[in-house]
């Protein structure tokens, strides 16, 4: 089985987000960037499938400007075999990203594509589902367990109120939820080795994809601030506030 993992370069999980003073966007200058946490889980799952002998090769792809090669190298250090970087500035619409990934999946004759369920910058939660639609294949989103049985992919999904298990025909798209696995850290020798693994750079043109602008960002604002609350000293005081001031119990 050949696996494609898509990874996105985003603001570091712990970095503080600032809105630009002119409200045109968030300010990412001099901010620490990292692989999207859900993408780390996707890489880990692919590596585990390879370690268990199910996967034969892991291709990792990232769409974006040149620095996203760092995230491809991180994935290579974790165990992916080779990388594809599609160089473009235009990554704001998930559909464009899905179209590029679909082309890569077709070219590489991929059996399974694993992506994070959502990126922590745009919070869209849609690229994987769009990719499955474009490839006209099955999808197992928000996966908390993945296994292969009789040529089918059994995916347990996080749904409202519980879990659902589906049997997917391959090729398939899986998007990862938090509990799928706990990603490992890259060992230093593997980080060194990753520098020598192949990394191909392509353009959208080379993949035959014409990017389209679907949305326009009009402005970005800070969220409304909550008014400063008060500290209470006892349970009695809390209950009194809730009853007579907030009137919520």
């Amino acid at each position: 089985m050949k696996i494609l993992v898509a990874v996105k370069r985003v603001i570091d999980y712990n970095a503080k987000v600032r809105v630009k003073p002119d409200n045109s966007d968030v300010d990412l200058a001099n901010i620490k960037m990292a692989m999207n946490p859900f993408c780390e889980i996707a890489v880990e799952e692919a590596v585990r499938l390879k370690e268990s002998g199910i996967a034969t090769e892991i291709v990792v792809a990232s769409i974006g400007e040149k620095p996203c090669q760092e995230q491809i190298r991180s994935a290579l250090a974790l165990g992916a075999d080779r990388g594809i970087h599609v160089e473009t500035e235009n990554t704001s619409d998930s559909l464009n990203v899905a179209k590029l990934l679909a082309k890569i999946a077709e070219r590489e004759q991929i059996d399974l594509i694993i992506l994070g369920k959502q990126a922590i910058d745009s919070d869209n939660n849609q690229t994987g589902q769009m990719l499955a639609a474009l490839l006209n294949c099955s999808q197992g989103t928000f996966a908390s367990k993945v296994c292969v049985e009789n040529e089918k992919l059994l995916v347990t999904r996080e749904i409202d109120g519980g879990l659902q298990t589906l049997s997917l025909t391959l090729p398939a798209v899986v998007t990862t939820d938090l509990r799928l696995n706990e990603p490992r850290y890259a060992a230093l020798p593997n980080i060194m080795k990753a520098k020598r693994k192949p990394l191909q750079v392509l353009t959208p043109d080379e993949l035959g994809v014409t990017l389209k602008q679907h949305t326009q960002l009009t402005s970005v604002a800070e969220p409304a601030k909550r008014e400063q609350g008060v500290m209470v000293n006892s349970v009695d005081e809390l209950i009194e506030k809730l009853k007579f001031e907030a009137k919520v119990i």
Binding site: I120, N136, D160, V232, V235
Partner: protein, 311 residues
């Protein structure tokens, strides 16, 4: 060319998130149709026909739609979608799974989790875990949108049926996917997404046994139970209880955070609650920055006292 709202339901009952989505749709000033796709779900179609503001209910009843599999439902919505300018769905796990598939089939993008409608083609949506609010204009001919339920009022029901119910034929079932099983927790507690009161526990609870304290307090108040990611990661509760950026986004009348430090990812899921109470023994915990009422105390002393003194 009207608005299509896809209904969230469990084949028996229409979920409240559908009402919030219809209410959002009324701001777009066009005729509103609701799609009810499921199996043996006539009761749902009848409920949908009573929602104020809805003029037509499209009703697709087939075993193909019993488990809401994205491959099947998205194909149906896509086929119907050609007749609409807007397709709106509640941003539930179910439609987060289905709707992007529809958007891609229609060659448009999706506007996820909108919290306000600025103009017919312009919407607000939170990004970066709610640390910024983006105003986004859609350039697509069809707007495919998921709606954050907590950001919109509920549409009301009228006493009698006011919308026509039109049966829609099911499409052939896909062979791409097969349903295997489902484990859904049976609980008498209200659902997180539409509870008036939510009691959430965090790492401070220490164990799943101790988490029962939260559940008992919730039952006493008729509240839903939530959790921080830390509590989920520690295995105290299942992931569907998680409130936060990547879990449920909630905005109840009263949110009580117990033993939750308040990572930005958690705050993203609850900071729009009307009244927030934080109980934590660490007075430096960031959760106090969004709390209306903060109590620095040991939760193992506070919860029993609350149980004793609350009605």
């Amino acid at each position: 060319m009207a608005i299509l709202v896809t209904a969230e339901h469990d084949n028996h009952t229409l979920k409240q998130s559908t009402l919030n989505t219809v209410s959002a749709s009324t701001q777009l000033n066009d005729e509103i149709h609701v799609l009810v796709a499921g199996f043996n779900c006539q009761a749902v179609a009848e409920q949908a026909a009573k929602i104020t503001g809805v003029s037509k209910v499209l009703y697709a009843d087939s075993s193909v739609y019993e488990h809401q599999l994205a491959e099947n439902i998205a194909a149906l919505i896509t086929e119907l979608g050609n007749d609409y300018y807007y397709i709106l769905a509640p941003a539930t796990s179910n439609y987060k799974n289905i709707l992007p598939r529809v958007a891609a089939k229609l060659d448009v993008t999706q506007l996820s989790d909108i919290t306000a409608i600025v103009a017919n083609d312009t919407f607000e949506r939170p990004i970066y875990a709610g640390n910024a609010i983006a105003t986004v204009k859609s350039l697509d001919p069809v707007k495919v949108i998921t709606v954050r339920s907590s950001a919109f009022e509920e549409a009301a029901f009228s006493d009698s049926q006011n919308a026509e119910i039109i049966a829609v034929n099911a499409l052939p079932e896909t062979n791409l996917v097969a349903f295997v099983s489902e484990q859904v927790e049976q609980s008498d507690r209200p659902e997180l997404s539409n509870a008036n009161i939510i009691i959430s526990g965090g790492r401070g609870l220490g164990s799943s046994e101790n988490f029962a304290l939260i559940e008992q307090l919730a039952d006493q108040l008729g509240a839903a139970v939530g959790a921080s990611r830390a509590a989920v990661d520690s295995g105290f509760v299942p992931n569907d209880k998680q409130v936060g950026q990547t879990g449920k986004i909630v905005a109840p009348q009263l949110y009580i955070a117990v033993g939750i430090s308040g990572a930005i990812q958690h705050l993203a899921g609850m900071k729009d609650s009307k009244t927030i109470v934080a109980i934590n023994k660490d007075e430096e915990a960031p959760i106090f920055s969004v709390a209306d009422y903060g109590l620095v105390a040991d939760l193992f002393e506070v919860i029993p006292e609350l149980r004793e003194k609350l009605p």
